[in-house]
Structures are given as C-alpha cells and as structure tokens.
C-alpha cells in the first residue's frame, strides 16, 4: 500500500482548489498567469476587449507551439537548442524559394516540413545512437543552421514571402466582436489537441517514463533511442510550424528566430516541467509560454524601461520556479515515509 492511498479522502473545498492552483508544481504557472493578466487588465482595461485578446493570442501562438515541441524533448530528458536557428532558417528558406510567387507556397511549405523532419532526425539520431549529449548536438545544429543560412544568403535574407504564405500567421476569419479569429489560434488549438492526445497515448507514457528513468524504461522494453528521436522530430516540426506562423505574422527580417530557443525553454520550465525529464504536463508548458508573453505585455503596459525588463523577467522566473520546486519536493518526502513505521490513520 502506498502512502498516497492512505491520504484521507476529503471533499475538495474551494480552499483546496485554491491551494492546488497556487500550491506549486504546474499549478504555479496558472496562478502566475492569472495574476499577470489581472494586473494587465488593471493597468489597461482596454486589453480585455476581445480584439486585443485575439491579437495577443495571435502573437503568442508561435511561442506556445515552440514550447509544445520543446516540452516533448525536455520531458524525455533532453534539450533542443536548435529551434531558434531552425525558425530563422525556415523563414529565410521560405522567402528565398517562394520569392513572391503565390504558386510556390504549398510546395515550399511541404519542403520546409521535410527539412524540419530531417533536422529533427539528425538531432535525435546523433543524440541517441552516437551518445552525444543533446545539449551539444543541438548547440552544434544551431550553429550549423545559422552558419549555413549565412553562407547561403551572404548574411541577409533575400526573396519575399507570398500572400498565401503569410495568411496562417497574419490572417483569420473576420467576424463581429473579436474583429478577427486568427488562423494561428485555430492551428494552435489543433496542435494542442494532438499534443494532449499524444501524451495520453502509449507513446506519451513511454516518453515520460524514458525521461523519468531511462534505464528502467529500457528494461521495461522501451526502445529509448526511438522514443527520443521522435521527440526531437516533433520539436523540429513544431519549430517549422512556428516558423510558418512567425514568417506570416511579421515577414522576413535578418534577425528572425534569434534567441527563441531560450524563450521556449524558459516557458517550459516556467510551466513546471522538470529539466532532466519525467515530470510536467504539456498544457502547463504551453501556459508557461502564454505567461511569458503576457509578462512581456505587462512590462510594456507598465512602461518599464526596455533595459530593466530582462532582469525583472529573470527574477520572476526564478521566484516562480523556486516556489514550484519547493512544493514539488513535498510529495517525494511522503513517498519515502512508508519505509518507516507509520500510523494507519491520520487525524
């Protein structure tokens, strides 16, 4: 009998719900999200209007998609540092190959997906079969992609994206109240549904088990290399989708994608997903991304000087993660208790 079954089963009260929400682990991120949003609404009530919220979700969607991809890799116990460069590379490739011709949109998107899968496979296979740490593999991939694009374009992107390519990131269905229901939001919802389904499938469970204890998973018959490689592929495909949305949202600039890998990792960690793998939910990772974006909005609404923002962001992230980690440490304590004599009932 495990300690958890001995917990007295009380009816959940409002206090319990609040305690769960603000109590730590993945819950912290939702609490933080609520606080940040409430603060934004207080500072600028017009942000609560549907068109503003839609615009916010449209701009947040790429980071949330990146966070979902990063979640797969992190929960399996690895890192993917190449996603920022991949986003940059994909946007530059799209612009160069489409070069303003509408007819090339779909073939180029297919090509981008193919390229994304290839990058994910290389990341995954080098990490799992050659046993190179993913930190190094993907750092290398980040530099390779960055350098290759530099070499190919001579330092600055060329070409132009087609109107059709820009639709998913920029367009949407025009309607009353919200002004525009962005395609990006609908794409995001589709991806979330798939991601949640995947995490509930047997693959998702083996992925989690692999991250939790690679050896145990291996003994249990999990082909660790395959599970992890697929996680890297998922991450690269998500980066490709994010690139399509970012390119669509903002067009081509030389700096696109720079630093996104760290923002995505920060988002996942903020979502309570444990670096090293094995813990955390995909929804929480996504909420982490949403919280980060909301935080950027809040800084802007508060008119914080740009120069101080990274420092404030850092403090909030460390505080939130530290807070969540303290809470997470508790159940572990409980699980160790059964080795010692324990009273059958608790008051």
């Amino acid at each position: 009998m495990s300690a958890t079954t001995q917990q007295p089963s009380r009816r959940p009260s409002v206090g319990d719900l609040l305690a769960r929400l603000f109590g730590g682990g993945s819950g912290t991120v939702f609490a933080l999200l609520i606080v940040v949003f409430a603060w934004i609404f207080i500072v600028n009530p017009s942000f609560a209007e549907p068109p503003s919220l839609m615009a916010f979700l449209k701009q947040a969607a790429p980071l949330m998609i990146l966070a979902i991809g990063q979640y797969f890799v992190i929960v399996s116990g690895e890192f993917d540092l190449s996603v920022g460069s991949l986003v940059g590379a994909q946007v530059v490739i799209a612009a160069a190959l489409i070069d303003g011709e509408e007819g090339r949109t779909v073939p180029v998107i297919l090509l981008m997906l193919g390229f994304g899968i290839l990058v994910g496979l290389v990341n995954g296979l080098v990490t799992t079969l050659l046993k190179v740490q993913s930190f190094i593999t993907t750092l290398g991939m980040m530099l390779v992609l960055y350098g290759a694009i530099r070499l190919w374009t001579g330092g600055a992107p060329t070409g132009a994206l087609s109107e059709a390519f820009r639709q998913p990131g920029r367009g949407g269905i025009d309607m009353a109240v919200v002004r525009q229901l962005p395609w990006a939001l609908m794409i995001l919802l589709g991806i979330v549904i798939v991601a949640v389904a995947v995490m509930r499938s047997s693959y998702g469970r083996t992925l989690m088990a692999t991250g939790d204890n690679e050896r145990a998973a291996g003994f249990a018959g999990v082909r660790v290399w395959r599970v992890r490689t697929l996680a890297f592929v998922a991450s690269s495909v998500m980066a490709t989708l994010a690139a399509i949305l970012i390119g669509g949202y903002a067009g081509v600039t030389a700096q696109v994608g720079q630093g996104l890998e760290f923002t995505a990792i920060t988002a996942v960690v903020l979502g309570g997903v444990v670096l090293g793998g094995g813990k955390g939910s995909v929804i929480a990772a996504m909420a982490g991304a949403l919280t980060l974006e909301a935080l950027f909005v809040l800084f802007n609404q508060l008119s914080l000087p740009s120069t101080i923002r990274p420092a404030v962001q850092g403090v909030i992230i460390i505080a939130a993660v530290a807070y969540a980690a303290r809470e997470r440490a508790r159940p572990r304590h409980h699980q160790e208790v059964p080795t010692q004599p324990q009273p059958a009932t608790q008051s």
């Binding site: 600028n44 525009q180 903002a250 067009g251 000087p305 740009s306 807070y323 303290r326």
Partner: protein, 411 residues
C-alpha cells in the same frame, strides 16, 4: 516554509514595483510642460514619456550642431558620383604613400545585417572594375563577424604579412579597435577607416556620411513637421550602446523635446520583425500612436502591418531607404520619409586607396553627403531598383558598376 514562500512572492512583487517606480522619475521632470496636453483619458497622464534632454555619453552638442549644419552645405564634387563628393574637405598630401604596389587589404567588422551586405557587394564590384584597369592587384579580405578580438588579430595579421599596400578598416567598435588602427598606421602603410570611427586621427582618411545625429534629426524633424501638436510618437530602436545608433536617438530627443509631440516610449527591437510587430501592437492597445520614429528601418514594414492588422490608420513614419519599406510606402500612400545612412560609402575607401597610391590628395575627414529620400524622389528610386530584393538599400550607388543588377540580386 510558508514564510519563505511569502518572501519569494514578495520579492517578485517588489521587483516589479521597483521597476515600475523607475519610470516615474522622468515623468516628474517632464510633467510641467506636458500637463496641459494631457488630453488622452486612457493614458491618465501617469505614463509620461522619457523626455529628458539628452546630454551624456552619447550626446556631444558640438557634434550635433555641426552635423545638422552639414546637411545644408553643398558638397564639393559631381552630384552624379556622390561617393566621391565631400563636405568641407580638408585635403592632405599623400605623396609619401605613392607607390607601385597594389595589394589592397580590408578588415571588415561583419556582414551581419542587410545594410552591410548591400555595401559589401557594392565594394566588391568597385574592386573588380579597378582590378580590370590594373589599379588594384590582390584584394585581401578578413571578416571579424562582429568580434572585436577577431578584428584586432585580423588587422595584426595584415601588418605582419607586410605586403599590404594599403589597409582599409571598417571598425567593429570605436574604443576597442583604436589601438589596432594605431598599430596599422605605425606599420607605415596608408590606413583608411570608414563607417564607424576610432579615437585616433593617424589614418590617412576617415570616410563617413554626415552621421547619426543628422539621420535622427531628419527623421524627427519630419515627424514634427507632419504631425499635429499633441500627437504621439513611438520610437523603435535596434540596440542600446552603439554610438551611431545612440547619436540618432539623442538627436531625435533634442528635437522632440523642443516640439509639442508626446513621445510614448522608446523600445529596443533587436531588428526582429516579430518583436517590432508585438511592440507596436501593444502600444496601439494602450492608445493612439500617430507617428513612428525608427533608428534603422530594417523591419519597418512589420511596424506598419501592426497598424493594418489592428485596424488603425497609418502613422506618419520615418523608416529607412530599405526597399521593403519604400515599396510599402508607395503601395499605401502613407505620409513617410526615408532617412539615409549613405550605403554608397562602401565604394569610397576603394577609390581612396587608388588615389593615395597615385599620390593624389584626399580629404583627411571625408564627409559624404547624406540626403533623405522624400516622397518626391521615392518613385524614381523604386523604379531604378525595381528588380532588387526587398532588403536592398535604395542609395547603394552601384547602378553604374558592371555587375548591376545581377550582383545585388544574387546575394
């Protein structure tokens, strides 16, 4: 445990509060002259702009005034070849450097943005012409990829090789590269510095357009002239701490401070289109933005699209002579101007080297003209560059070179 938790939460909150407080300081100083114009009920007057007059590390009033005056001085030389024109030149004798050797060495800071890429292509085309004429032999190049230490050793390698007949340097940063430039001068070969400056005058010539103050002023004056008093302006900047960019913003602050425009804020964008669009969208959610001032127009289109996507009217806009922006400007018919940081300056150092080898006089400080592109000239420049990529610069000044236009298209 609970107290620790509370402490952590309090620390986070305190950090936010503290940070929020810092914005109030400039508000207090700016309040007296702004209070009358606080007509926007949404903004409540508590978010006052940072209107303090710039007078610090990146603002030297004498330079500011000199550059503003230089804009009105007719440059010497043929307007058809602006890369050979000079504003108030003081010529130096170069007879001591006259020679038959013609190996040209160039230490480049980087090609890390479209402006530098465009210029670099122009430079190579110019070299090719002179190589065919036999005026330049080998053209040896090193690219430091924005790394000061790399560039210092690149320059040292040229000195050590001992067979450069002239060294051209486009410094990565001002102070750090100064000793390296001095070492190059000490080696006895003619040294030519262009684009960003260094803290020495040992080089034979220092080539640059008028400068950052003039650029920032061109943009700011246009906004002041084209916006109603009391209108709001958002400033979008790329990076902090780079002198040519800081000068642009310092000049703009001077001009905005003397105007009746309200500066909503100045934001760093990293030149990333997505970041630019996010920031502008957020400002539009807070209230009206009537004008946009940019310290570099890379990504200007993303800013304009933020107005389109949120259903707002186009702002009065100061972008840059990058074609993506100029095409958008033409397409929308918005009120705009394209300040220019003359890209054609990349031709000048090459020509200067051949002049020095021939013992001809060159200006010791070679100030090139720097004229903004106005609506009247816009279509002409766009027509001339019709086949050029979006991130190309209108005033690249290479139309007469043999590689035009293919060299700039196949970058």
């Amino acid at each position: 445990m609970r107290t620790t938790r509370a402490l952590l939460a309090a620390a986070a909150a305190a950090a936010l509060m503290l940070a929020a407080c810092t914005t109030d300081e400039p508000a207090d100083t700016a309040a007296p002259d702004e209070s009358a114009a606080a007509e926007d009920p949404g903004a409540e007057g508590e978010e006052e702009p940072e209107q303090e007059t710039a007078d610090g590390e990146f603002f030297v009033r004498a330079d500011f005034e000199r550059q503003l005056a230089q804009r009105d001085i007719e440059p010497e030389g043929d307007p058809a070849t602006p890369w050979l024109q000079a504003i108030e030149p003081e010529y130096v004798d170069t007879a001591e450097f006259a020679q038959d050797g013609n190996t040209l060495c160039f230490s480049n800071a980087s090609v890390s943005n479209p402006w530098r890429v465009t210029g670099w292509i122009t430079m190579q085309q110019q070299v090719e012409v002179l190589q065919q004429q036999g005026l330049i032999g080998e053209f040896r190049v090193s690219d430091a990829a924005d790394d000061d230490n790399q560039q210092i050793s690149d320059i040292q390698a040229f000195i050590d090789a001992g067979d450069c007949n002239a060294i051209i340097i486009s410094p990565s940063t001002t102070a750090t590269l100064t000793p390296a430039v001095e070492a190059a001068c000490a080696s006895g070969v003619p040294v030519i510095v262009f684009d960003r400056g260094v803290n020495t005058d040992c080089m034979v010539t220092f080539i640059h357009p008028i400068g950052g103050y003039a650029y920032g002023a061109d943009a700011a004056e246009f906004l002041v002239d084209n916006l109603e008093p009391g209108s709001t302006v958002l400033a979008l900047r790329i990076l902090p701490g780079v002198d040519v960019l800081e000068n642009r913003w310092a000049a703009a602050q001077e001009i905005f401070a003397d105007s009746e425009l309200e500066v909503l804020g100045d934001e760093f964008t990293g030149g990333d289109g997505a970041e630019i669009k996010n920031i502008v969208t957020q400002y539009l959610q807070r209230g009206e933005v009537d004008g946009i001032w940019m310290d570099a127009g890379d990504g200007a289109v993303a800013a304009i699209e933020a107005f389109e996507d949120t259903g707002n009217d186009y702002p009065v806009m100061a972008g840059e002579d990058e074609l993506s922006f100029m095409r958008k400007w033409q397409e929308t018919g918005m009120t705009a101007v394209a300040p220019v940081y003359s890209n054609f300056q990349w031709r000048t150092p090459i020509l200067a080297a051949t002049m020095i080898w021939a013992g001809e006089q060159v200006p010791s400080e070679w100030v090139l003209p720097q004229d903004e592109i106005t609506e009247a000239e816009r279509d002409d420049y766009l027509e001339r560059n019709a086949d050029m990529p979006a991130l190309h610069y209108a005033k690249f000044g290479g139309e007469d070179l043999p590689g035009f236009p293919a060299a700039w298209q196949d970058r």
